[in-house]
């Protein structure tokens, strides 16, 4: 038996035994170290008779590869075992709770405002705002509701001075006045915001939210008004069909005026919009009264158009299934958490208004 074969057999049997990493490394250096058994054999190549040299070299390489391969796989094996042993020790109970986190929420009214803005944005309305404190002129007189008009009684107004000149706006309609005073027609705006009336009971809060709409141009008629609201209601409630009814009504600042009802039915205690034979009043609207246009120096023989006012809180209640208006402003942690929206849920047209 040649030396080579002897070395091979000896070490293969060694490597088959149970070894730790240092023992394997010892073997590795015994064989392939500077003066290792295999390394020394390589040095011998030059001394081999030429006729046998080639075979010797080739055998040596085979043995080298075999032993090296074995050593590496052995190292791998041992390392794996050790890692596995270590990992075994590191095992945790993954069912323990994650680090605590808190979720913020967006108020349903804010969410509704974003949804509403998104819908009207599609058809070219831009958002205007006005102050919460208004003067008597913008809130009433300019809107064709002069002093001593009984319609003023329909608004229970909060006043800030004894002369009743400064007040908390009772509706978002003064934004119409401000917008038309500031710019020139055409106008196509919505104005969401806080509004105030001094009554307070189960269904009324002293503060609530409205969104005003105003579209003034040449030749805007009641068909456009109907089309706009029909579109809005369908989009907002995310339904294909909507039952809508325009009822004649009266607002001093529009003529003709209408209140709009939508059809609904109750199913398992929930309101289903768009079906059924019940009617629900959701907004007031009409063609802007020529007196209002005159008050803001817009020529009513050249320009006309519509305006509407929608209760945002009411819409939010309907869409999100909220029963109690007062709870909107009660700031109860449980309510906010339950009805609030994730801040990442930004209503958009392409992703949809709601999930």
């Amino acid at each position: 038996m040649s030396d080579l074969k002897k070395i091979r057999d000896e070490f293969i049997s060694k490597l088959e035994g149970k070894l730790d990493l240092s023992e394997i490394n010892q073997i590795k250096s015994d064989l392939f170290g500077k003066n290792g058994l295999v390394s020394s054999q390589f040095k011998k190549i030059g001394t081999i008779v030429e006729s046998e040299r080639k075979k010797f070299a080739s055998d040596l390489n085979v043995i080298k590869d075999e032993l090296q391969g074995l050593i590496y796989s052995k190292i791998n094996e041992v390392e794996n075992t050790e890692i596995n042993k270590k990992l075994e020790k590191e095992k945790i109970d993954i069912t323990l709770p994650a680090r605590p986190f808190v979720r913020g929420k967006i108020h349903p009214v804010s969410q509704a405002i974003d949804e509403i803005s998104s819908i009207f944005s599609e058809i070219g309305f831009s958002v205007e705002e006005g102050p919460d404190v208004e003067n008597e002129y913008n809130n009433f007189t300019a809107l064709n509701t002069p002093d001593n008009h009984p319609a003023r009684d329909m608004h229970d107004t909060f006043y800030l001075d004894e002369k009743k000149q400064k007040l908390l706006r009772t509706h978002t309609s003064p934004v119409q006045i401000r917008t038309m005073q500031k710019d020139k027609p055409p106008f196509k705006i919505i104005a969401p915001g806080r509004t105030y009336r001094s009554d307070s009971d189960q269904t009324h809060a002293p503060m609530f939210h409205q969104v005003e709409g105003l579209h003034i141009d040449k030749n805007i008629n009641m068909g456009h008004l109907k089309g706009c609201l029909n579109y809005f209601i369908k989009e907002f409630f995310e339904v294909d069909k909507i039952k809508m009814r325009f009822r004649p009504s009266h607002f001093p600042f529009t003529e003709p005026s209408a209140e709009v009802d939508i059809g609904y039915e109750m199913k398992d205690g929930k309101i289903i919009i768009g079906e059924g034979n019940q009617w629900l009043e959701i907004l007031g609207c009409g063609m802007v009264h020529p007196n209002v246009l005159k008050n803001v120096k817009v020529d009513p023989t050249k320009f006309q158009g519509y305006a509407f006012g929608i209760g945002i809180d009411r819409l939010a209640m309907l869409k999100y299934g909220i029963n109690d208006l007062r709870a909107f402003f009660d700031c109860d942690y449980r309510w906010l958490n339950h009805f609030g929206f994730d801040p990442l849920d930004v209503p958009t047209n392409y992703r949809g208004l709601s999930r």
Binding site: L96, P97, R99, P100, V102, G104, K105, I106, H107, S110, D114, F120, E122, I123, G124, S126, V127, V133, N135, N138, N148, A151, D153, F158, Y159, L160, K166, K188, R194, Y196, P206, M207, N221, M222, G223, H224, L225, G227, C228, N230, Y231, F246, R247, P248, S249, E255, P256, S257, A258, H289, Q304, F329, C331, D332, Y333, R334, L336, N337, G340, P343
Partner: protein, 801 residues
């Protein structure tokens, strides 16, 4: 306005059913608020007499009454009304009856140990009036009716309409019938108007003073002598009861009936109590009178009064006085049918805080041409029921009424409504509504009926035509999806961004009132002036908020009381700086209470602190696109913050406007408000103080460059005076070589052992990297030394060895 289909049919011939009626009322703009069935139940309510009352053995305020309801045995009823007394005629509801107002079904029940069989009802409970104080008191005339049903059998439901303020004509049944007829719902009956035929003169002289702001322009009257006031006949009582009115006596009932039927308010005086004629004049200041509501009113100049020589008899068109009121034994009456100016009525009623049915009608506008019709109808009815003789009608006026004329361009209809109807149709509708129409080329010359004060211009005519034609005729024109102007401006976008940025940091968005409790507001208003609401709904909501904190703290406290300990809430909305329009700013205000982590298996308990909130604010600004290198932070804050644990942020070094305050709420305030929490930290971001970016975020970004050369981190520990601000230290280090120093991080602040008192040690790690080359030891050493030298020179720090 309450009507029944039965009553309507006095004026309207129709074969249609009540179901259609309800629909049609709504279609023409007379909104049906409710329909109440005056069902068989109503027969259960009986006229009854209290025979005996005893004090309840177990309750001071209750009485046990023996009630005669026309049966052999008296019923025992427990009653709490103060006016329940022996001999009183009232209305009894037996067990099983449903009370109309409360919709509760009565059962036999023990009240404090005494069994009560049924109930004695107040007018309010029976929907007869708003009078809820005590049980109904019926006049002695009902003595004969004991045991009989109070309500008559009615086939017709009670329909409650909400009449808009522009339609006074529809405050009378006839006006409603006219609208219905115009819309095709039946035919309006001709008025069979009987006229008073009399030879006797009206002998009480009436004079309307011609003076400035005279609130009465016409005063019609007639005398009815030798009447015998009595109980109304059944048909009249039934009629009034059917619309929820309580019959009183024939004279009162007749005037009420005429008012409800044709919206013509009348007033009946006891003629014998009028001293020598009537003068309609403006009140003198300080003049007083006692009205029929038994209240004494101090009058002012400019209020229209009906007076005689002795003084005020009544406030014209609003309320009569006790002195000249009719009573059961009244013999001679003066019936008034007048026209009072809406403006005058409204001013007077507002000043005196008086609301009556007559006022409600006159301020909306009564048909000025209905004076005679009202007198005719009422006087003849009174004569029929009470006997007596009627005088001629006397009408005094200080002006003549002229019907308004509107020239109507028929093209306007389609221009506004979007649909077309023929001129013929227009004329038909308008004539049905009482207009006189004359065609003049493309115009209609329209004479407006006297009962329509709301109509004065063309657009009013359009409204009438659209309303009667039906809003369902308007065709939908779908909107075009086109946008020429951006939906939100930059400030609005920032508003929405901040709102969601703060929410994303764990804050729940709240919306609270814009007003608040002044006791809370005082803590936060600083030098701002208090803005009072003149008529708040309650005293604890009496001022506009100067800060959102007042509400947030109040609600935070409520939530803590509910048992939630760790909570962050915020609101974005207005705070007010004055009581004029525009004196308001938008603030994002947040409040955190309790612990950041509590009872967690993985983290230690830790109270929420100033640096949590500082992080929220700073992160929000950075997310909103502001450059943190530009921020400037110091410790000057309003006094509602903890003076040592609060700060303010400027978005740039110009320090022009404070972008935000943050910090612990002053412990004194927490103590006074008695809020129970481990920590209370808040912030305020001032939306209008944030500069809007002139360039878009995209354009603001500098060119994208990175350095792949090796970076090294060097740690330093400096000992400085306690009052040296870390921010200054960081600024100094950053300025040493802006090209090479890419980051400066504070990793430890230490005071105590081994550090001299009044000093602190600050450990800082500085990242050094060149964009051009790998720095060698030499380079690094150089910059190291430069950092130490600069810091020591500029801040008085000493490097800690």
């Amino acid at each position: 306005m309450k009507i029944t289909f039965d009553w309507l049919q006095d004026h309207l011939k129709t074969n249609l059913k009540e179901k259609h009626l309800l629909e049609q009322l709504t279609n023409v703009g007379l909104e049906v608020e409710s329909v109440e069935s005056l069902s068989a139940d109503n027969e259960l309510f009986k006229v009854a007499k209290i025979i005996k009352t005893e004090k309840h053995p177990n309750a001071d305020r209750l009485k046990v009454c023996d009630v005669n309801i026309g049966e052999k045995e008296f019923k025992k009823v427990v009653c709490g009304a103060a006016n329940a007394k022996e001999g009183l005629l009232t209305i009894y509801a037996p067990p099983g009856a449903t009370i109309p107002q409360t919709k509760t079904k009565l059962i036999i029940t023990k009240i404090r140990g005494v069994t009560s069989y049924g109930m004695l009802c107040s007018e309010f409970e029976l929907n007869l009036s708003d009078e809820s104080d005590g049980i109904t008191e019926l006049s002695t005339k009902y003595e004969k009716s004991i045991g009989k049903s109070f309500f008559s059998k009615s086939k017709s439901n009670l329909i409650d309409l909400s009449i808009t303020p522009n339609r006074p004509d529809c405050l009378g049944v006839r006006g409603i019938a006219r609208d219905l007829a115009a819309s095709g719902f039946g035919k309006l009956s001709e008025l069979k108007e009987k006229k008073i035929k009399s030879k006797t003169k009206q002998t009480l002289k009436v004079k309307i003073n011609r003076e400035k702001d005279q609130g009465c322009s016409a005063f019609g009257s007639c005398l009815i002598t030798n009447v015998k006031n009595t109980e109304s006949p059944q048909w009249l009582k039934d009629k009034l009861i059917s619309v929820g009115q309580k019959p009183i006596s024939a004279i009162v009932d007749v005037t009420n009936y005429v008012m409800l039927d044709i919206n013509r308010p009348l007033h009946a005086y006891d003629a014998d109590k009028i001293e020598k004629g009537i003068i309609v004049r403006n009140a003198n200041s300080e003049e007083e009178f006692t009205a029929l509501d038994n209240k004494n009113y101090k009058l002012e100049k400019g209020m229209c009064v009906i007076s005689d020589r002795k003084g005020v008899l009544g406030l014209g068109g609003i309320i009569g006085g006790t002195r000249s009121g009719t009573e059961l034994d009244t013999k001679n009456i003066l019936l008034e049918s007048a026209y009072f100016e809406p403006r005058s009525i409204r001013n007077t009623a507002k000043k005196l805080n008086l609301d009556t049915d007559a006022k409600f009608r006159f301020e909306r506008g009564i048909d000025p041409l209905s004076i005679e019709a009202g007198l005719n109808k009422a006087a003849l009815l009174i004569k029929e029921i009470c006997g007596g003789e009627i005088s001629k009608i006397d009408i005094q006026k200080i002006g003549t009424y002229k019907n308004k004329i509107v020239k109507f361009d028929t093209n306007l209809f389609k221009k506004v409504s979007g649909f077309k109807i023929s001129t013929k149709e227009m004329i038909k509708i308008l004539e049905d509504l009482g207009f006189k129409c004359k065609k003049e080329k493309k115009y209609l010359k329209l004479t407006v009926p006297s009962w329509r004060p709301d109509i004065s211009q063309e657009i009013d005519i359009v409204e009438e035509l659209v309303r009667i034609s039906g809003f369902d005729k308007i065709k939908i024109i779908s909107p075009i999806k086109e946008r020429t102007k951006s939906t939100l401006n930059q400030t609005q976008r920032l508003f929405h961004f901040l709102q969601r940025a703060i929410a994303s940091k764990g804050y729940l968005e709240a919306i609270t009132w814009s007003f608040t409790d002044s006791n809370y507001n005082d803590h936060f208003k600083q030098n701002e002036k208090e803005i009072k609401i003149i008529n708040p709904i309650s005293s604890d909501l009496g001022v506009l908020r100067n800060s959102i904190f007042s509400n947030l703290i109040m609600y935070m406290s409520k939530n803590l009381d509910r048992g939630f300990k760790d909570l962050s809430i915020f609101e974005i909305g207005p705070v007010f700086t004055g009581s004029s329009p525009g004196e308001q700013t938008t603030v994002v205000c947040g409040l955190s209470a309790g612990k950041k982590s509590r009872l967690s298996w993985i983290e230690k308990d830790r109270n929420v602190d100033v640096f949590d909130v500082k992080k929220d604010v700073v992160q929000t600004f950075i997310e909103a696109g502001y450059d943190s290198d530009e921020f400037f932070i110091d410790d000057k804050t309003p006094n509602y913050y903890h003076p040592g644990k609060s700060g303010r942020i400027f978005l740039n070094k110009d320090k022009e406007q404070v972008a935000a305050y943050f910090g612990e709420i002053h412990p004194n305030i927490s103590k006074k408000i008695d809020i129970k929490t481990d920590a209370l930290i808040g912030f305020e971001i001032f939306l209008e103080h944030l500069n809007l970016h002139k360039k878009s975020l995209n354009d603001q970004k500098s060119k994208f460059t990175t350095s792949d050369f090796q970076k090294s981190e060097r740690d330093f520990a400096f000992v400085v005076n306690r009052d040296v601000k870390v921010q200054d230290l960081i600024n100094v280090i950053s300025s040493v070589d802006q090209k090479l120093i890419s980051n400066v991080k504070v990793f430890d602040v230490y005071e105590g052992e081994n550090i001299p008192t009044n000093q602190k040690s600050i450990a800082i790690s500085v990242t050094i990297q060149s964009p051009e080359k790998t720095l060698n030891d030499n380079d690094l050493e150089k910059i190291n030394n430069l950092i130490i030298e600069t810091v020591e020179n500029k801040t008085g720090a000493k490097i800690r060895s």
